[in-house]
């Protein structure tokens, strides 16, 4: 049954019911009073007392009915408001509870006794949740140790063996497993543990450290790694470790897709964007929505042993934890997309990965190539809007973008 017309609030209901009750009493009282008065008037009329009786009744008692009604309603409303006021404080507190701040407990001191059990039950539920978080975190830490030690043994054991074809393959398998375990632990950590995104992070510094660490590895696979810093330090609020992880995963992904001899470029701009560009084949249009899903792998890589499809999902997760998004983009419309992003959210910062295919020619040329090529050659940007930079400088001029434009390159935006 629908009861929408019935007031939902306690105060409303109480006032309505009291009002009705008092109204009925008033009407009943007045009616019987008037009846009695009429009856008395009839008997008293002859005595000439009727007018005096009515005047006395109204003067002594009658006026009290409306005043009493009003007083009752006011007291009822005041009592309700006063006793429920602490509930407002409770809701403010409750609103502050996030996965990152589960230590908050709701105050029960000033609450009416009737409400205390509810709030206490909520507090207990929060205790259990906090414990659950802690158990999960502990599990992740334990799993890290328990899995890594035997893996380290396996890896080191294989490395100490004389190199043969089979041993070489086993080493690659062990390496893949190491990576997978590290990524699974990364995912578990993100899931089970709220991320503290309140640190002040020098995004350029974090990106430079990742480039520093992966440059020798990139060289081993035949490509090179470069860093294009922003004009000034890019300070953002976030989690240093997680942002480093995100950039690392983008870089690893880019290195894996980069053709030998080509450069993978990592860049940061003053708006807080991080982008990673490779010169690989890009991501087919139909896959762009899915590459950030867990365990998703492109058709070409599905059968191969490379990658488990976790890296980009971790990046997406980290971007989300920073209040951002991630997207695959490309170069010709990249400028437009960037500009739009900057106009709409001038002080947002982004993490971007960018995979592109180099190629000269006029934009029109390129467009026609898109049409004819089953897997269009486009630049791809994994873009994440994540949090707010501490400084809101003007939208940066992206040197990479500029060179691309002057070379007459094109791109397709899919973000």
């Amino acid at each position: 049954m629908k009861r929408a017309s019935w007031p939902r609030s306690l105060e409303g209901r109480l006032l309505l019911r009291l009002g009705v009750l008092l109204g009925v009493t008033l009407i009943g009282g007045l009616a019987s009073g008037i009846g009695a008065a009429l009856h008395a008037a009839k008997t008293l009329a002859d005595d000439g007392m009727a007018d005096k009786f009515v005047a006395e009744f109204m003067g002594d008692v009658g006026w009290m009915f409306p005043v009493l009604t009003l007083a009752v309603l006011v007291i009822a409303a005041w009592t309700l408001r006063a006793s429920l006021k602490p509930l407002r404080a409770v809701s403010t507190q409750a609103a502050a509870i996030t996965p990152g701040a589960i230590a908050v407990r709701l105050p029960i001191e000033d609450l009416p006794l009737e409400l205390q059990p509810v709030v206490m039950a909520v507090n207990e539920a929060l205790d259990r949740l906090a414990k659950g978080f802690e158990t999960q975190r502990q599990f992740t830490a334990d799993a890290a140790h328990e899995l890594r030690t035997p893996l380290a043994i396996l890896t080191a054991g294989l490395e100490n063996l004389p190199t043969t074809g089979e041993i070489e393959r086993l080493r690659l398998d062990a390496e893949r497993m190491n990576r997978l375990v590290a990524q699974l632990l990364g995912v578990a950590r993100l899931d089970g543990q709220p991320l503290d995104v309140s640190q002040t992070v020098d995004l350029g510094e974090v990106a430079a450290r990742v480039v520093e660490r992966f440059a020798p590895l990139a060289a081993k696979t035949g490509c090179s790694l470069a860093f294009e810093p922003a004009a000034s330090p890019v300070l953002v609020t976030g989690n240093t470790d997680a942002l480093g992880d995100a950039i690392r995963n983008l870089v690893e992904n880019a290195i894996a897709h980069s053709p030998p001899g080509q450069e993978v470029t990592v860049g940061v701009d003053t708006a807080g964007a991080v982008w990673v560009v490779d010169q690989g084949p890009g991501v087919p249009l139909e896959d762009r929505d899915r590459i950030f899903e867990r365990f998703w792998r492109s058709r070409e890589r599905r059968g191969s042993s490379a990658g488990a499809g976790l890296g980009l999902s971790i990046v997406a997760e980290i971007a989300r934890a920073h209040g951002g998004t991630i997207a695959v983009m490309d170069t010709p419309r990249r400028r437009r997309a960037l500009r739009a992003g900057c106009a709409a959210r001038p002080i947002r910062r982004r993490i971007e990965g960018h995979r592109s295919m180099s190629g000269g020619g006029a934009r029109a040329n390129a467009r026609s190539r898109i049409a004819s090529h089953p897997f269009p050659k486009y630049a791809v940007t994994h873009r994440a809007l994540a949090g707010r930079p501490d400084t809101d400088g003007p939208p940066s001029k992206n040197p990479l973008w500029r060179t691309r434009v002057t070379r007459g390159q094109w791109s397709v935006c899919v973000g």
């Binding site: 890290a144 380290a152 043994i153 396996l154 080191a156 020798p216 090179s224």
Partner: protein
């Protein structure tokens, strides 16, 4: 050169010791904090490899205790803990370098060698990379026994690259190191020196190469 491996997981200890022995180090292994302290009292080690989780105490505390004494060898910490706090704690406690499990054995050997290659370290005087030898005292460079004529700044750059063989040396670090050498440092001074150095190494047929990491720095890699 003698190394101490402090690791309670027997298989890891064996494998790390084996890997280091293959790189022609003499290796002792101990499994507890107490044994480690005893061993370090008795013998003079050139470097130590330390696991942080030990049965009779936290490796971090051992690290702090060792750092208070003079003549403590450089310490490479191995650990399965990988949060930032752990890493910072390890380096604060005096770890010279840090590797997270699972690690590649070549990486352990490379890091240990890098520790020994530090100035004052046992490998710190004659630095080697492939067929190239840099004598940090005599300030000369040889490839296959043939002296390669290099400018002062080029030798200085090469020295930093060899000390961190296989790892990136930020350009800013090189600029800082060369700043004291009385050169006026133009914005492209380092790239120019590196360019000359690279050409001379190629001409001398050195089997190591300088890679540029645009925007960050350079690293030297031994070529197989």
């Amino acid at each position: 050169m003698r190394l101490l491996v402090i690791e309670d997981e027997r298989r890891i200890a064996e494998l790390v010791a084996e890997g280091l022995r293959q790189a022609s180090f003499v290796v002792d292994t101990v499994a507890t904090v107490a044994d480690a302290q005893a061993a370090l009292e008795l013998t003079s080690y050139d470097a130590a490899v330390l696991d942080l989780g030990l049965p009779d105490g936290d490796g971090l505390r051992l690290l702090t205790a060792l750092r208070r004494k003079p003549d403590t060898p450089p310490i490479l910490v191995l650990t399965a803990r990988d949060t930032v706090e752990d890493r910072v704690a390890g380096l604060d406690a005096g770890a010279d370098d840090y590797l997270i499990k699972p690690f590649a054995m070549v990486e352990v050997v490379a890091r240990v060698k890098a520790l020994l290659r530090r100035p004052g370290g046992p490998l710190g005087v004659r630095l080697e990379a492939g067929n190239l030898v840099l004598d940090t005292v005599g300030r000369d460079v040889e490839v296959d026994g043939q002296v390669v004529p290099l400018a002062r700044q080029e030798i200085a750059i090469l020295e930093h690259l060899i000390r961190r063989l296989g790892r990136v040396v930020p350009k800013a670090v090189l600029e800082e190191k060369l700043y004291g050498m009385g050169d006026e440092l133009g914005s492209n001074a380092i790239p120019v020196h590196v360019h000359h150095l690279r050409r001379k190494l190629i001409e001398a047929k050195a089997v190591c190469a300088i890679h540029t990491v645009r925007g960050v720095g350079y690293f030297l890699e031994e070529q197989a």
